[in-house]
């Protein structure tokens, strides 16, 4: 369970999060949406402790996690851009991340799902964007954690990998995990998300199910409903 209370963050003069209140009480898939620069990544990075907010609290299972670090053992994070040290090989990177986290990992099934075997001994600097993203996905899902945060998970993936990714996400949801996903692809949201959180100007503009959003905006299609939300 994640609770965010009165979160403020600005970069120089640009206010990104402006007294944001939000909670994810149940398990399920939450899509975090919003226009570019609306603070989605800042919100996610605040939960991860990579961005230090000026004011406010973030509680995970009722414990304030700001300036803490052990709680990250129970979070899996897929970063937006898969940038890895370029002189490491794929298998070295996987081993390293496994070594850094004090919990068991099951990577072999994921490696075969995404057909990464031929790349295991290749250097990360020589991989294509899509293959890097697959490695990124393996690193994210190989641990069994209660909270999974995915920042633009579909970037660069081919249609087959995308289907496999959706299956994995669905499986994790069925295990009762909390998944936070940011994306700009509305069909993905419509397909998998249980609830939508719409960010605008550093605040929560809408939070609820897809059906209630459609009802509120009187639109039949999610893309138009979001556009409608933005225009009003």
């Amino acid at each position: 369970m994640i609770e965010i209370k009165n979160l403020h963050k600005s970069f120089n003069k640009l206010t990104v999060l402006d007294g944001l209140d939000l909670d994810f009480r149940s398990s399920g898939i939450f899509a975090i949406l919003g226009p570019n620069g609306s603070g989605k990544t800042t919100l996610i990075k605040s939960i991860l402790g990579m961005v230090v907010p000026e004011k406010g609290e973030i509680l995970i299972d009722k414990v304030n996690i700001l300036q803490q670090w052990t709680y990250r053992n129970d979070i899996n994070y897929l970063p937006q851009i898969a940038n890895f040290p370029s002189n490491l090989t794929v298998i070295e990177l996987i081993k390293m991340v496994k070594n850094l986290r004090p919990k068991p990992a099951s990577e072999s099934e994921l490696i075969s799902t995404f057909e990464l075997e031929p790349f295991l001994n290749k250097k990360l600097g020589n991989l294509s964007g899509g293959t890097k993203q697959k490695v990124n996905i393996v690193l994210t899902f190989m641990f069994d954690s209660n909270i999974i945060i995915l920042d633009e998970p579909t970037t660069g993936l081919d249609p087959i990998s995308l289907i496999r990714l959706k299956t994995i996400i669905q499986k994790e949801k069925d295990k009762g995990k909390t998944l936070l996903i940011t994306t700009h692809i509305m069909s993905l949201v419509e397909e998998i998300a249980d609830e939508i959180v719409f960010l605008l100007d550093g605040k929560i503009y809408f939070k609820g199910s897809i059906a209630s959003l459609k009802e509120k905006t009187k639109e039949n299609d999610l893309e138009h409903a979001i556009a409608n939300l933005l225009q009003n």
């Binding site: 970069f11 990075k45 991860l48 402790g49 990579m50 961005v51 230090v52 300036q67 670090w69 052990t70 709680y71 990250r72 053992n73 979070i75 994070y77 970063p79 940038n83 890895f84 040290p85 002189n87 490491l88 390293m96 991340v97 070594n99 850094l100 986290r101 004090p102």
Partner: protein, 260 residues
């Protein structure tokens, strides 16, 4: 912290530049001993090289490693690790691998030449210790600069400027001030000013140990009185330690509030 240290260290000793640096010192050591055929003289020449070169290499490696490992750092930040552990591990990885290049690169030729049988063993030891100190100091300072500047080019520029200031400009200003204030007793001020520049401090510390302070005239005598004693040595080494600890402390302060 040790896991990060291990990764940074193994990452660096696999890089080509560490070898270049190591081989450079190795060649320098052999050539100097071959040309001088005298350990003490070789040490003096070496001093002049180390005093300028280790800070420069430390500065460049420190800045470069920070900017090059940004992605790696971000990956680590999302893991259950303390920020302090991540950055201290990386810092120590850079500083230790550079110091290792120095110690091995110079150690091998001097040991082969028979430094252990020579009376200059203490001087050589001090030179290596001071060189290692300079590595730790300048990597720490350059890490500070890199942490404060998101822009790579700016960070690099400031770091080189910092090196230039401490290695060259400081001496110039120091000298001019001595000439201008010639009518006043300057020994205390000179001693004091030396303490505020790790490069000057290291240079004078070793020069005086090498017993060539007669070349330095009257001021040399005052300095000899201070640095030549064990108290002077202890105070100087304390100052060098302080020069390591202060930038390291600031790194830890800085990363507490930094966004990635």
């Amino acid at each position: 912290m040790f896991k990060i240290l291990k990764y940074s260290f193994s990452d660096l000793i696999r890089s080509r530049w560490s070898y270049v640096y190591f081989v450079f010192y190795l060649l320098l050591g052999f050539v100097l001993l071959f040309l001088n055929n005298n350990v003490s003289k070789a040490i003096i020449t070496l001093l002049n090289v180390i005093i300028v070169l280790t800070p420069l290499i430390g500065t460049i490696f420190g800045v470069m490693y920070y900017y090059n490992s940004r992605e790696f750092t971000e990956l680590l930040l999302a893991q259950p690790l303390q920020r302090k552990q991540i950055f201290m591990g990386q810092y120590l990885g850079v500083a230790i691998s550079l110091s290792l290049s120095l110690v091995l690169g110079l150690g091998i030729p001097f040991v082969m030449y028979g430094i252990f049988q020579s009376a200059a063993i203490f001087d050589f030891g001090l030179l290596i210790v001071v060189g290692a100190f300079l590595n730790f100091i300048f990597v720490a300072i350059s890490y500070n600069i890199a942490l404060s500047n998101e822009n790579k080019i700016k960070g690099f520029g400031y770091a080189i400027l910092m090196w230039l200031l401490l290695a060259v400009i400081y001496d110039g200003v120091f000298l001019i001030s001595l000439v201008v204030l010639n009518d006043y007793p300057l020994d205390k001020m000179a001693l004091f000013a030396t303490m505020f520049n790790p490069i000057d401090l290291s240079r004078i510390l070793i020069l005086l140990k090498l017993d060539i302070s007669a070349l330095l005239g009257y001021t040399g005598a005052v300095f000899k009185d201070f640095f030549g004693t064990n108290l002077g040595l202890v105070i100087s080494l304390c100052m060098l330690t302080l020069w390591v600890l202060l930038p390291v402390w600031r790194i830890n302060m800085k990363i507490k509030k930094k966004d990635f």
